[in-house]
């Protein structure tokens, strides 16, 4: 039986609950370092003082994408901010699921590096693809991706299975292709296979192989190289002569987000220069705006020099999305088989 007093209490409390929900901003994100850094560097110092209550919805990127797609016809989605890699963000924008972002909505967007700008995507932090080699085994270090197709790399190269698209792209660049034409990379990948290149299930397995000396060269994100060096793995990073390609950890706002204003405020806080140091020190990722500066010793480890920044390459996510099945099929059936 519902007591009158209880009912009255609930009725009185309702506006308070509604108010709490109005201030809530749901962030679909990774757990681990990234989620923890969002909480400590963005949520606590920058977002809570605005009167907002950030709530993290932790999970895998595929779960977040699936939610976005599955909820596309729902009036109210379950996430206000969705953190994803740049390619996934692009795919969600292509499906028409996310809001356009402008400096009116997110003022700090005006300060984003021109090479990283994208109309529907907030670039949060980034790193670039480099060649990582063990200097005790591979000397001199390769200058370009193309240099890795050489006898001195026989049985020395290992890749992470997770980076299949990235490696396919690097092989295309080495073979005279580009971001919009991976075809020349296929012959190159066959060549690497003939040189005894290995594939490891995850980045951690590749790290173990680099540490044990099973492999001595890979293509990887500079940020990961920084983390590995800190973990005692001897790797040196070289920017490829073909130009470095960025990987951007980004965020989007679904069109059916419940609390869009709060979401925009959250995105603006993500770009705040005060939040940049933590992501740089702990994850090796760089801020995407001109507002933030990192200490020089850290920049020497994780930074992209101005001359490299000037020739930063731009991935063609449209091409990789259209050809995703084919790129994966070649990797699975020919390169790995």
């Amino acid at each position: 039986m519902i007591a009158r007093r209880g009912l009255l209490g609930a009725a009185l409390a309702a506006p308070a609950i509604a108010h709490a929900q109005a201030n809530e901003v749901i962030i679909g994100t990774w757990g681990g370092d990234y989620g923890a850094l969002l909480a400590s560097e963005v949520d606590a110092p920058l977002v809570r003082p605005l009167g907002l209550t950030p709530v993290q919805d932790l999970g895998s990127p595929s779960a977040r994408k699936t939610k976005l797609i599955a909820e596309r016809s729902a009036r109210r989605g379950s996430q206000d901010v969705v953190c994803l890699g740049d390619a996934d963000c692009y795919a969600m924008a292509e499906l028409g699921l996310v809001e356009e972002l402008t400096p009116d909505k997110v003022p700090n967007i005006a300060h984003v590096l021109p090479a990283l700008r994208s109309p529907f995507v907030l670039p949060h932090i980034y790193s670039v693809r480099v060649m990582l080699t063990n200097p005790a085994v591979i000397s001199p270090a390769p200058v370009s991706y193309a240099d890795m197709w050489d006898e001195r790399f026989r049985n020395r190269i290992g890749f992470s299975d997770l980076l299949y698209q990235s490696i396919s792209e690097a092989a295309a660049l080495a073979g005279g292709g580009n971001e919009s034409d991976f075809a020349p990379g296929q012959a190159r990948l066959r060549g690497l296979k003939a040189l005894g290149a290995r594939v490891y299930s995850a980045n951690e397995n590749l790290a173990a192989a680099l540490k044990s000396g099973e492999v001595a060269a890979t293509i990887m994100w500079l940020a990961r190289g920084y983390a590995w060096r800190r973990a005692g793995i001897a790797v040196q990073a070289t920017f490829p002569a073909e130009g470095a390609t960025p990987y951007v950890s980004a965020a989007v706002v679904p069109k059916n987000a419940r609390n869009k204003q709060a979401a925009y405020a959250y995105l603006n806080a993500m770009l705040d220069p005060r939040a940049a140091l933590g992501f740089g020190e702990r994850m090796g990722y760089l801020p995407t705006t001109t507002l933030a500066t990192l200490p020089a010793p850290l920049l020497a480890e994780i930074g992209v020099p101005a001359e490299q920044l000037a020739k930063l390459r731009r991935p063609d996510f449209g091409y990789t999305a259209r050809n995703a099945a084919e790129i994966l099929a070649f990797w699975e059936r020919e390169f790995k088989a």
Binding site: S62, I69, A91, E94, L95, D161, Y164, V199, Y200, S201, S212, E214, A321, R322, N323, A324, A325, L328, A329, E332, R333, K336, A337
Partner: protein, 276 residues
């Protein structure tokens, strides 16, 4: 009485049948890299999967691994189950706990243990090198053998417990009667215990076979990136290829092959058993 199955029936309908119907509908759609999928009613995904030598190979590997694991479980499980069934009740509860012990550890954690054992710098290679038997580490991990060993360790308890429940129902005095009539222990086992235990053999084998056909974590972790079974291939299509219709078609083919083999196997064994 029939109403008693209503709650379970509704739950199955809601949580199993409804998603399966949705998945089947998706499997008939067309893949679109830009729109995820386009509504359609066409068998193209099934035809492609059936005609593709790559997926024929993956299905072949899956069936080989599943059948090998089932056979191994049966061979090592039967003596253990018989021993368990004929045990004193005091020790039995301890033995049952020991049998299910591997199931108390998650699949991923257990696989991590196998990796530490079988890896290039793992315990087995270290011991063999220490003893001077080998100079270069053996490739134990990332092989079909490693996957089979890993899966058997997971599914063997299901076989043992199923068999032992059936063997327990076979009166002990039947074995004694056989001995009385001059049968040696092996003959008594072959002519009396085994035929009576056939329902357990069928049930245990079906259970283990289905689990093996759908194994995911063990093939991924112990088979390595080059080794492919169906469940990881389905995952790849959904998550890495974002090709939901084709992934759904592969999932249904896996389901159909498992179902057909299970029904065929049970029917063949069941008929033999009846004939006796």
């Amino acid at each position: 009485m029939a109403a008693l199955i209503l709650p379970a029936g509704l739950l199955v309908l809601l949580l199993l049948v409804a998603p399966m119907v949705m998945l089947f509908r998706i499997s008939l759609n067309e893949y679109s890299p830009t729109q995820l999928m386009i509504e359609a009613l066409q068998p193209g995904n099934y035809l492609r999967a059936l005609a593709d030598p790559y997926y024929q190979g993956v299905m072949g590997t899956t069936m080989t691994v599943a059948l090998s694991c089932t056979a191994i479980c049966l061979i090592i499980g039967f003596p253990a189950a018989w021993w368990l069934a004929r045990m004193d009740s005091k020790q039995k509860s301890l033995a049952v706990i020991l049998t299910v012990f591997p199931l108390l550890v998650g699949n991923v954690v257990r696989s991590a243990g196998w990796m530490a054992l079988l890896g290039r710098d793992g315990a087995i290679n270290a011991a063999l090198r220490g003893l001077g038997i080998i100079s270069e580490p053996l490739q134990l991990l990332y092989t079909q053998g490693a996957v089979i060993v890993g899966i058997v360790a997971v599914v063997a308890p299901y076989m043992i417990l199923t068999l032992s429940a059936v063997i327990e129902g076979i009166p002990r005095n039947l074995e004694e009667a056989a001995a009385n009539l001059g049968a040696g222990p092996l003959t008594a086992f072959r002519r009396v215990v085994l035929p009576l235990a056939v329902p357990g053999v069928v049930a245990g084998s079906v259970l283990v076979f289905i689990l093996c056909m759908n194994a995911y974590a063990t093939p991924v972790l112990l088979g390595g990136p080059q080794f492919k079974m169906m469940a990881p291939a389905v995952y790849d299509q959904f998550v890495r290829g974002t090709n939901w219709p084709f992934g759904a078609a592969l999932a249904f083919l896996l389901l159909m092959v498992t179902l057909v083999l299970t029904v065929l196997g049970s029917a063949v064994v069941g008929r033999r058993y009846k004939a006796q």
